[in-house]
Symmetry: C2
Subunit: 410 residues, 2 copies
């Protein structure tokens, strides 16, 4: 296994981060007065925000930790993910300029990357919880996913170079986290599972549902074996910075060659988790209805914007002449759609009973409303998983969501 | 790309091979009187057979060439395949002792491997052409495929180590040969295609059959993306040494992580190519019928022996508890079966119109009989490709073979 030499590695202090920033050719002037705060709210990395008190210049220094904070130092993680994250940021920047932070500098031995500061943006999950609208988001993320997935697949890049690239992005430790937390533990008794006792009946139902287990096993097999494109690998709304005009994707440390639908499904799942969290802070019936409609429209739009762009790339930027075979594009997109829906369902389920939750639902102050949101999310998630292999349109998906919500036990 | 340092590489002469053999700790005695012949009949390697005139000891030294002989030096090939071949021989030997040649020594810079001499065996293709029977073959190859595929997949090995192993067996140059010669060129006008003018109508039909093209595109996608197990990658009857009692698999230089059905299909295809070559040298009707029955029984037995062993490993040697999910094994084996049949069909078609043929058919002296055999092989191959996604049993496959043969234009 590729491992960064630990002898050179040390976790940075804010002062270390400032010292490094001073040595960089940019963006700071020689007389910069640098300030640094560690702002990481994840559990795998240190994130230093460095600002110049004499200018409006700022940078981020992100450093991987050799363990997961969430469980102390007992869960060792390869620092290779820092190199992988840095390389995929550069690759995504090349494919979608302006949609990921620019990399200014990196040091693979120290497992750190110096990159563009995006603090004029907010984390999308936070914005959604606060009821902000992002009318350009579906177009932006559709463009991001279409281009990053298409151009790293056998459709859009040389098939031999793709194999070399797949080798460079073998990412076992990060994949293991996904394999355990998404595809395994929610469906059995596991120490890291995390849910309120009030939904023990739901957790029990997840553990005993054979139909569900079979579909999850099939989705997991795809995650393990289907090297279709270079995925972001963790494309939830906490990995997306937004303003109403701009969308920036961050934190691709789970990147590896996997099934395209895993990224598309992550976006859909997290929009649906926010949908399931409603009413949230909304007290007015009309406003609630508008917000629900808006979120379901975002789900629809994310798929349709992605699909139309992906199909346009297929027509205009295909490097594989054989993919022009009549009927192939339709079958490919149909399977990609089904995968996306299945993965979306799996990602919803794990956010309710698994280790890592979403603030959309966890921050609902009223326990009854929170429990109802959890049950809605599970109901939607299970329905998407169970139906993924027979669905054909996003309209059918929204019908299933609607049915799942109305039949959720209150 | 990983490349052996060419500065140290040189193609060996027989004298070089003898010099190397003398330096090895075994198997030769100090007073050995070594003789060496280059016996390679492939087009990618030198194969030196070194014998001791003073004993019955012998070895093989196989050295990869940095180009394909079949098209002169104009088709460069990475020497990395020698390291890959040596590593997979060692892995296969570990999984199936006695079913591959033992590796005695290797030098990755020189792209050579010193291995067990199997010249007491014959190439299975030659044996089949001569009408020899191999009553243990189906059990042996079923065992070989079941163990090598199962124990290198997510079912039978640690899933994180599998990812590392997948990275070590990225094999772009060799895969490119397969992608072009099997999944691309037979279905269009291509310089390297190679067939008699008498079957131009068949070649034309291959180029214009949209239903066939779609199925081939789907099979090719699996070959490109489905990292299911560490394949041999070229498991035809010319890569298998046999006696009536023993089966040894050689030449795994096309090894990579791909769909299991690609190996199973290779064996089935080459048995069916021999079947299509009949009557061959057989003149007696009864003998012909017996031989046909025997070959079709081998096809059936290869699948059933493989399947029963694969399922037994699943029960007894599973390292992935999630694969115990009810119904999963059946769905997995069903898909593996369908893949095997589809790949078998693709491998039959390419052996008739593509660059590399099989002696079973090419050595038929009578032009009319040869043409009939070619048409039968194409007819079977196309039927297997077109039906692969709906087949469930080997019995159905044999019915399709029978129908394809009886409807072949004479």
């Amino acid at each position: 296994m590729e491992v960064a030499p630990l002898s050179q590695y040390r976790p940075f202090t804010p002062q270390d981060a400032i010292e490094l920033a001073k040595t960089l050719p940019g963006p700071f002037a020689a007389d910069a007065n640098l300030d640094c705060h560690e702002i990481g709210d994840g559990n795998l990395n240190l994130v230093f925000h460095i600002t110049d008190q004499n200018s409006d210049k700022s940078i981020i220094i992100k450093q991987a930790l050799p363990y997961a904070k969430v469980v102390g130092e007992s869960w060792p993680l390869s620092l290779v993910r820092a190199r992988i994250e840095r390389e995929i940021l550069q690759e995504e920047y090349r494919l979608c300029p302006g949609m990921v932070p620019e990399v200014y500098h990196y040091d693979d031995d120290l497992a750190l990357t110096v990159m563009e500061d995006l603090s004029d943006h907010v984390i999308m999950r936070k914005g959604l919880i606060e009821g902000v609208s992002y009318p350009l988001f579906a177009q932006h993320i559709g463009e991001f996913m279409a281009r990053t997935l298409f151009f790293t697949s056998d459709l859009g890049m040389n098939q031999q170079l793709k194999k070399e690239q797949q080798g460079r992005f073998i990412n076992p430790d990060q994949c293991k986290i996904t394999e355990d937390l998404i595809f395994d533990e929610p469906y059995r008794i596991a120490e890291k599972n995390n849910y309120d006792v009030s939904i023990e009946d739901e957790a029990e139902a997840l553990r005993t549902d054979g139909e569900l287990h079979l579909e999850v096993a099939l989705l997991r097999e795809k995650f393990l074996t289907h090297g279709q494109a270079l995925l972001h690998g963790d494309l939830h709304t906490g990995s997306i910075f937004v303003t109403p005009e701009s969308t920036k994707v961050i934190d691709p440390e789970f990147a590896y060659y996997g099934p395209m639908g895993f990224d598309v499904g992550a976006v859909l799942a997290n929009l649906l988790l926010n949908y399931a969290s409603l009413p949230g802070w909304i007290q007015d019936e009309t406003a609630l209805h508008e917000r629900e409609t808006l979120l379901l429209k975002m789900v629809r739009d994310v798929w349709t914007e992605f699909e139309s762009r992906f199909r346009a790339l297929w027509v205009n930027d295909l490097v594989d002449p054989m993919a022009k075979t009549a009927g192939y594009q339709d079958l490919y997109v149909q399977q990609l759609f089904r995968d996306s829906i299945g993965f979306a369902g799996a990602k919803m389920v794990r956010r309710i009973v698994g280790l890592a939750h979403v603030a959309d639902i966890d921050t609902i102050p009223n326990a009854t409303e929170r429990e109802h949101a959890q049950r809605k999310a599970l109901s939607i998630g299970k329905a998407l998983i169970k139906n993924n292999r027979r669905l054909n349109t996003i309209g059918e998906v929204l019908d299933i969501v609607s049915t799942a919500v109305t039949t959720t036990k209150v």
